[in-house]
């Protein structure tokens, strides 16, 4: 599993975000939560899992090393 797989998951989540299947549905989950809102709350949890997967499988180690090396400092301060 690498960067490409994380990108595929990202695009899949973007597609799932457009949940046309519950657009017109006002029914309640557990008696209080509109189903469209429940889906999107679950979507937020899946985003967190995707974030974890991106860190686990696509973390930019080389970029981290590049930043930590001594380098030229040219900012104003």
């Amino acid at each position: 599993m690498g960067k490409n797989f994380i990108w595929v998951l990202f695009i899949l989540l973007f597609v799932l975000h457009q949940d046309i299947w519950w657009w017109n549905d006002a029914s309640l989950v557990l008696g209080f939560m509109p189903i469209g809102l429940a889906f999107h709350a679950g979507f937020s949890i899946v985003c967190a899992i995707l974030g974890w997967a991106a860190i686990k499988f696509a973390w930019p180690h080389d970029l981290e090393e590049f930043a930590e090396e001594d380098g030229e400092k040219e900012g104003s301060i």
Partner: protein
């Protein structure tokens, strides 16, 4: 009065925190601007989250849900969970790496170096200021709208000209705005970036806890979770929108209206069977006409509103959260990180934090449609629900302090960042780094921050009736239109300064054009429901591509610097 005392105590506590963080201040400009790159994962998460969640998240989301229903969450919150985390990962860490490596404090320093152009900074600076100002305004406006209802009756002989008659004696928005501005100014002035990070963390914890407490009390006020689900306004067999319940403040009970109270009627809808439907709980667009009473004259008038969200609008809102890639205040927070690893918690927890704050707010907004008059100003919905359903004045004070915490935790970063970019990108950049001492640099930043706070306050009083949600969306639209610049700078070797100029100008021209058409901050869609941000983004991206391909590629030296031959970089 008790409520007001609790709020004042909270503000004093915050000032105390400002004095405390000023004792930790190391006295250097690097510490003032980016806390000497010393911020760890938890503080980074809290400050980044606190900065992105403002009046927009609490006051705006509740008001928008009251207007359009639960689609508000998908429109802004869940897509932000996906896109923000992606940007922290793809843009934030990379910008942090270049900032750390080459000593950048601001976005403009990075862009000047990447695009080999000083002038780019002078073009970008006023645009960034122009776009941050609406973001600042919503904080001041949101604070004013929140405090007046919950302090109603406290000073009936002093404040005799309320926004609405029922709020007589409440602290007027001008005074709230003034106090909030001064408190934020004080702790930013004293503690700089470190002070803002501590204050943000404290305030983010406060507003998240208070948000959950408020939610629990509102649920109890509505008679429990299942009962709350029945409260939103309903459409009857005749197409009339009715409220089935009312909250009796004296008895503290939710009572059934018999017969149900009519508040409006359906004008048109794509859905033929709306009988019994609670329109705030789905997303089907329905045009309705509501009645409202002028609070000062008592005159009844009608107004139209679209409930639900058109599908095209929903999809095109994807462009709005791209704005975080170009927020100058977020760039500054990224630069405070101790290491790239500090970003990990933010990438994972940011979507969850958004959920914890937004789900309750969106539910409260939808429930409010069943107990509040439809003509109430959307930014006042959250405080009106607190005022109606939470009887205890101490608790109301604490909950209101939570709302103020959310507002101030964004204002501080924005004020600080404007001071930082003015000092570094204009003053020091022009004069040379040796002309001013470190102390003078900090003084210049502080003076500019005072000027910006004063300007923001005046503008907020002028635009005091603006819709917080819509104004925020305009601010985000401008920054998302600039997103192609940062993305191309980091990931496209062929991106040139001419492309960057073309992209920034295209973003500015399209944004100003649509902002003007909207009446300077109103809700606006193009054609079948596309939001202006999508068009501005498209124009800016196209200008970047065409402008870059038509001009000479960047120098080898620049390419070596920003695209070093490292594996996977």
């Amino acid at each position: 009065m008790t409520t007001l005392i609790v709020i004042v105590l909270y503000l004093c506590l915050l000032l105390g925190l400002g004095f405390f963080s000023s004792r930790l201040f190391r006295g250097t400009s690097k510490d003032y601007f980016v806390a000497s790159h010393s911020i760890g994962p938890f503080l980074l998460l809290m400050s980044v989250f606190g900065t992105t969640m403002t009046a927009f998240a609490l006051v705006g989301s509740t008001g928008k849900s009251f207007e359009r229903g639960i689609g508000t969450y998908g429109l802004m919150a869940s897509i932000s969970g996906l896109v923000h985390a992606g940007i922290f990962f793809l843009i934030g860490i990379r910008l942090w790496a270049f900032g750390k490596k080459y000593g950048y404090i601001t976005q403009i320093q990075f862009f000047r170096a990447r695009f080999e152009s000083d002038r780019l900074g002078y073009l970008l600076f006023p645009i960034l200021v122009l776009l941050v100002i609406p973001y600042l305004l919503i904080g001041i406006i949101g604070a004013g709208k929140t405090i007046e209802p919950v302090t109603a009756g406290a000073f009936t002989e002093i404040f005799t000209n309320p926004t609405a008659p029922q709020w007589l004696g409440g602290i007027p928005p001008w005074l709230t705005g003034l106090v909030v501005s001064l408190v934020v100014l004080t702790y930013v002035f004293l503690g700089g970036s470190r002070g803002a990070a501590y204050a943000n963390t404290f305030q983010t914890i406060v507003f998240m806890i208070m948000g959950v407490v408020a939610f629990v009390y509102i649920i109890n006020g509505l008679g429990g979770l299942e009962q709350a689900g029945k409260v939103p306004a309903r459409i009857n067999a005749k197409g009339v929108i009715v409220q089935d319940y009312q909250f009796n403040k004296q008895s503290g009970e939710l009572l059934k209206n018999d017969p149900p109270k009519p508040i409006g009627r359906v004008l048109n809808s794509d859905n033929s069977d709306l009988t019994g439907r609670q329109p705030h709980l789905s997303r089907t667009p329905i045009s309705v006409e509501f009645k409202k009473k002028n609070p000062k004259t008592g005159e009844i008038s009608s107004f139209e509103r679209e409930l639900g969200i058109p599908f095209i609008t929903f999809v095109s809102y994807f462009f709005i959260p791209l704005s975080v890639g170009m927020f100058p205040h977020l760039f500054q927070h990224w630069l405070t990180a101790k290491s790239a690893k500090a970003f990990r918690l933010t990438v994972i927890a940011h979507p969850l934090c958004i959920m914890v704050v937004w789900v309750p707010c969106v539910l409260v907004g939808a429930w409010a449609s069943g107990v509040l008059p439809p003509g109430i100003p959307p930014p006042a919905v959250l405080s009106a629900m607190l005022n109606l359903l939470v009887g205890d004045p101490i608790l109301t004070g604490l909950l209101t302090a939570g709302v103020l915490a959310a507002i101030m935790s964004s204002l501080d970063s924005q004020f600080l960042c404007l001071g930082t970019i003015f000092t570094n990108d204009i003053v020091v950049h022009r004069a040379g780094s040796k002309k001013y001492s470190d102390k003078q640099v900090i003084l210049i930043a502080r003076v500019f921050i005072v000027v910006i706070v004063a300007l923001t306050y005046v503008l907020a009083m002028w635009a005091k009736d603006a819709n917080v949600f819509d104004l925020a969306v305009w601010c985000f639209s401008g920054f998302s239109a600039l997103f192609p610049v940062v993305f191309a700078a980091l990931y496209w070797k062929r991106a040139t300064k001419e492309g960057a100029f073309a992209s920034i100008i295209a973003a500015l021209v399209t944004w100003v054009y649509f902002f003007h058409l909207s009446g300077y901050g109103g809700e606006m869609v193009i054609g079948p429901g596309i939001i202006p941000a999508a068009v501005c983004f498209g124009a800016a991206a196209l200008a970047m591509i065409v402008g870059s391909l038509m001009t000479k590629p960047p120098s080898d030296e620049t390419l070596q610097k920003f695209f070093p031959p490292i594996k996977k970089l």
